[in-house]
Each structure stands twice: as C-alpha cells, then as structure tokens.
C-alpha cells in the first residue's frame, strides 16, 4: 500500500486514517534547532466533513487514500440512486444519498458535476458553483417595491428553496450560488 510522508503532504493530499479518507488542508512544520521535528496537520474527513488536527513526527507517514476528483455528467435519479457518467469512457456509476446530500437539490440532469471518488465509488458530489433554474412557485411581487432589498422564498424547479428579491416572478429563470444558496441574478430570456 502506498504511503505519504509528512514532507509530501500538501493541501489537497488524500490520506487514509483509521479506515476513513481525509484531505490535508494545512501542514505546519515545527522544529527546535537541534531537536525532533513535528508536523501538525489540519485534515478534513471526506465522509463527514469534520476538520481535525493531528501531529506526526516529521518523516512518519499515513497510508495514501485512493481518492480522486473527476468531472462527470449527472444523468438521472431513479428515486434511490443518482446516475453519473464518465464523459470520456461513458462508464456509468451510481451515487447514493449520502454523497448527494448537498448537491441533489440543485441538479436537473445533464449538468457536469465534480465527483470525489474513493476506491472508484462516489464519496461526495458537488453541484456546479452556480446553476440557472426556473422559479416554480413564489408569491406575486409586492406593488412598486423594487429597490428596498426585501426578499421572499421561491421554490425552484428542482425543489430547492431560495430567498429571492420581491420582483422575481414564477416562470422566470434565476442564477443561484450553490455554495451559499444565495440568489445572484435573473437570467435574460
């Protein structure tokens, strides 16, 4: 099994600790002039998202995690699984609910999504940073209110609910930042 030494660990390096895959966020090297050096590693658990810190003696290592990020095409959801396709090999794989947790509500089908694969199975699926979706349901805008900054909830065609300005109407297409869930703009016809 391949291992990664502390001096090879950089932001984004994937390691396996107690059976879970982690991504290195920061690697801080400390060394007393004539003494034992240590590396303090800030790492994110790729299954739970939890961030923690661990210290290793410099030169020690962790097992490398077989984790890669790949752009794939999201095809459809059959109610239980989300099917993704490798645009190069046309190979299809299925992601379960845990991997889709944050992305599902932004996806219609046909989008290109970033998929983190662990042992070739999808661990996390990321929606595109911004998506353009049609407003399916929202209350009619209030008369004359354009610039006061008021917002109202709007349900999008994928089922996601976002706060939109009062002037946005049903049937209009809007652009949303999926990382923050914030409305960005209306999209011209």
């Amino acid at each position: 099994m391949a291992s990664v030494s502390t001096n090879e660990m950089k932001a984004g390096t994937k390691v396996l600790i107690d059976g879970d895959p982690y991504s290195v966020i920061e690697n801080e090297y400390r060394k007393p002039g004539k003494g034992q050096a240590t590396n303090t590693l800030k790492i994110r658990n790729l299954k739970t998202g939890r961030v923690l810190e661990k210290t290793l003696k410099s030169g020690d290592s962790w097992e490398a995690a077989d984790v890669e990020d790949k752009d794939m095409q999201y095809l459809y959801n059959d109610g239980q699984f989300w099917t993704l396709m490798d645009p190069v090999s046309y190979e299809q794989i299925q992601a379960g609910e845990a991997a889709m947790a944050d992305a599902a509500k932004w996806l219609k089908g046909e989008e290109t999504v970033r998929v983190t694969l662990w042992n070739e199975a999808p661990l996390v699926v990321y929606a595109p940073n911004t998506v353009e979706l049609v407003v399916a349901e929202t209350d009619p805008g209030l008369r004359g209110d354009t610039a006061t900054g008021g917002t109202k909830p709007a349900k999008l065609e994928t089922g996601a609910v976002v706060r939109v300005p009062l002037f946005v109407n049903e049937g209009e297409k809007i652009k949303v930042d999926t990382r923050t869930g914030e409305y960005l703009s209306r999209v011209g016809k």
Binding site: Y29, K31, P32, K34, Q36, A37, T38
Partner: protein, 321 residues
Amino acid sequence: MRPEALWRPSASIAILKARAQLLAAIRAFFMQHGLLEVQTPILSAHATVDRHIDSFATRDGRWLQTSPEFAMKRLIAAGSGPIWQLAPVFRVDEQGRHHNPEFTMLEWYQPGYDHLRLMDEVEALLRHCGAPDCRYERLSYREAFVRHAGFDPFVLSAQQLRAQLGPAGIAEPEQLDAADLADRDFWLDLWMSQHISPRLGQDAPQFLYDFPASQAALARVRDGEPPLAERFELFWRGIELANGFHELSDAQEQRRRFLADQAWRAQQKRMVPPYDAHLVEALAAGFPDCAGVALGVDRLLMLLTGCARLEEVLAFAADRA
C-alpha cells in the same frame, strides 16, 4: 487558487534590497570588531551526525554542509583567532513557514569567550542590524519552563512530561514507538517547539541558556546538580534565530558524542554519515577556550522586515529554486 508564475522571485525587489543592506550591516559589524572573514568548503567528506539534522549526500560520496562549524573550528585550532563567515547551508526535508532546505547561516567564533560573553555580542549585532535597541532578557532553560509551563524540566520523568501535555492543550504525536515514549528529550523538544518557544521573545528578543546536558550538542557541560550544557539559543517573536556554544574542546568527549549519535542513527535506521575525524584531531592538537554561534540570516531578515514566511525573503524559495 490561481497558480503563480514560478519563474518569478519569491521575494519582492524591495525585500532583496533590505537583504543587501542587512548583509552590508553584518559585514560592517565584524570589520569594526576585528574578526577575520573566512570561507570554508561547502562540500565535505564528512557530515554532521546530529540526530535531528540530515545532510544532502552527493553522487561522489561527499556531503553538503549543514553548518560551517567543523571547518571553522579547525581554523580556530590552527590559530586563526576570531573568525566569521556567511555560508550557504543545506538540510534535507526542512521545509515550512520558517524553514527552507537551503538557507544562509552567519557563524562566528571568539577565542577566550564563554557562552555568556558571546550572548552579549549577539545582542550587539542584532541591535546594530535594526532589531530592538534594548537589553535582551536572559532566561535559563529551567526558568523558561517554570514561567511558561509551570514545572521544572529537570525533575519530571518522560512519563510526567507526557502526562502534562493534555492539560496544556498540546497534541501528542501519533505513531510513537517505545523509544520515543521513554526519551525525556523527545518530550522536552515537544514542549519546547509546541508551547515554550512560541512564547519567547514576544516583545524584544530573548536568550535561552544552560540547556539539559542531554542536549549539549557540541557545547561543553558544566558539572553540577544537574549538570548543564553551556549552550544558548536566541528567540524573537517565537522564532529561533541563533544557537551558540561554549565550545567543547575535549577530543575524546567529542568523539564519544559523535559515536553515540551515529549509534542512535543506526538504531533508528537513518543514514549514518562519517563524523568529522579532522575536527577530533584538531581538538586533540589543542583547541583554545572558545565560544561560537550560528545565526539564521534569512529568519533575521524576515523578522526585521515584518514578513510572515521565510520564502518572502528568499530570492527563490525551494519550490522555485
């Protein structure tokens, strides 16, 4: 993250001008003080066997220096009188916010000095170079632990040093072996690097002196209870800037320490370079009472210019060298 063009320098041109000024100030200081500037080989048939410093080996079986100390002490033994040098030095895998595998060392030796007197001269040099113009506090290794950790480092066992980590919020390294667990110096180093040194020299630089005899390196050990290594370090804003010794002059003891470090390295399955036999011979030929110090010039520049990372003061840090 946008990738930065790697052909570009790591340091700004303004910082490179500050570097040139610092080098000029250092040279002026030693000329005023009457020390002889020397140059010694960067490439040697011998290397340090220090347990925690690894040397680069060259294809022809030689070694890049990690410090010019051995060659400079041979000059001292040959009667050079006080000498100083700015030298490029190399250390494998030392890479981080305050480390670069290649850096610039300022090193000087003063026959007739002990470590206390040399501390005064280090302070004078720093003040001359633009560091805070005041008296720097001298704190013994014991006092530093008592002040910042609340215990006497000379009385606690390895186990007790380890047990104190948790309450102080210091993370214990993973994957430790039995040798680490039983090694007092391992735990003292951890306390030093994670807890004590970040608190040293926060206002003005601070000296730390009289180390445990087990951390003497090339310093002489003064008898007493406990025996103490006549060694000092200088810290500024939590960063170690210099390490000095009242130099060991006993050839037999020097050889014994080299052999002990080699044995430790062999047992740890680390590379075991040949120790500098010429140094042992030089000490045997007669070595004057002497103190010497090595100071990291890049770190000093980083602190003088208010930079946060060492690479900001290097023309080309290791990632683009």
